[in-house]
């Protein structure tokens, strides 16, 4: 079963949004979709890069006004 989650990192500067995502992913027990909402455009480069090196799937990146939404399909630690 997939669940959707929102991780609000507005106001945080990179790499903190990536760190918050990583902390979230470490707690997931099954395949989970999570959208990081940020105000730092650095997430557009950093989260896709973090996904590539750690075996998670980038679903989408969106720029909505001053916000950036990056959606990731994360896999629990033991199955990475």
């Amino acid at each position: 079963m997939r669940t959707a989650n929102i991780l609000d990192t507005k106001g945080l500067l990179c790499p903190l949004p990536v760190i918050r995502l990583q902390e979230f992913v470490r707690r997931v027990e099954s395949e989970t979709e999570v959208t990081v909402v940020a105000t730092d455009p650095g997430v557009l480069a950093d989260i896709p890069s973090w996904c590539r090196v750690n075996g998670h799937e980038l679903i989408s990146t969106k720029e909505l006004g001053r916000e950036y939404h990056v959606t990731v399909r994360a896999f629990p630690p033991l199955s990475v």
């Binding site: 990179c14 480069a45 630690p77």
Partner: protein, 353 residues
Amino acid sequence: MALPRQPRAIALISGGLDSMLAAKVVQSQGVHVEGVNFFTGFCVEGHTQAVKRTKKQKVKRHSALWCAEQIGIPMQIVDISEEYKDIVVNPQYGYGRLLNPCLDCKIFMVNHALDLKGNDNEPFDFVITGEVVGQRPKSQRSETMAIIAKESGADDRLLRPLCAKNLPPSLPEREGWVNRDKLYGFSGRSRKPQFALAKELGISEWSQPAGGCCFLTDESYTKKLQDLWDSRGRKDYDLEDVVLLKIGRHIRPAPHYKLIIGREEGENQYLRGFRHKFAHMSTVSHAGPLCLIDGELNQKERMLSSRILARYSRGRTASEVTVRITDPSGLSEEVVVEPFEPHLIPQDWSLTN
């Protein structure tokens, strides 16, 4: 001690060339290598680059993540900013030339890396760093490198692949997890051996942050940090302080207050986020930057600060500029002032080089 599985190492990845090479050298010997990058709050990466970015600029990449991608290793970024305070405020081995506690910092990071687990939740057998004997005056000397190994608790589980041949064999070498003959004996400040190795390994691009990757080795930044501590009468800070010291023009006309003036739109935008916490000023009659006021001002000081701000506005050559001063609750007043001429602002008020 033969391992019943592939040896596992965690590499400290700063985003620079040496740590990237060190990880790659060990990885190429068949070791499972993962990277870690520690977020101390003082990293040159990120913060200011993000704040200053304009729409036309390309988004800055995180160099350590980029390095991990280049050499094909998983990587975690670990927030140690809270625990790191004690290192910055009270380093056992003292500071380097500025407020850089490099030796304590490396001890802390190696120790912390040892406790981490990989993406598969398994621990690591040893730690890799990109240190080179003689490269840095504070932390990368043979005697201090021995201190790092001992005080971090890693002892002989700390491998420095770029200068391993100048050091006693570490556990991974003695146990045959890595072949010492395929490690290196670099020493000194020359970068030529690293450049040659990079070429040999097919690495053609790497990050070269001017002045290093840590703001604690930056003269302008540490001047502001020292000023912050002096003004508070104690060595203390939080993450907001650390970020604010990276942003804007810092001017301290008197010990009890400081002005932080945005230098471009990205900084103004970021400073706006602090209006609930600080009194702030902006020019009304002319376009100009936002200014945060760190401290309590009397009426004379409000006028003086307004004149300073007016000097950095589009009205700098006008005879009068209207400035709005707003306290954190939203109450505001407007004053009309004559902008300071640049030469009338004493240089020693400026904390920004």
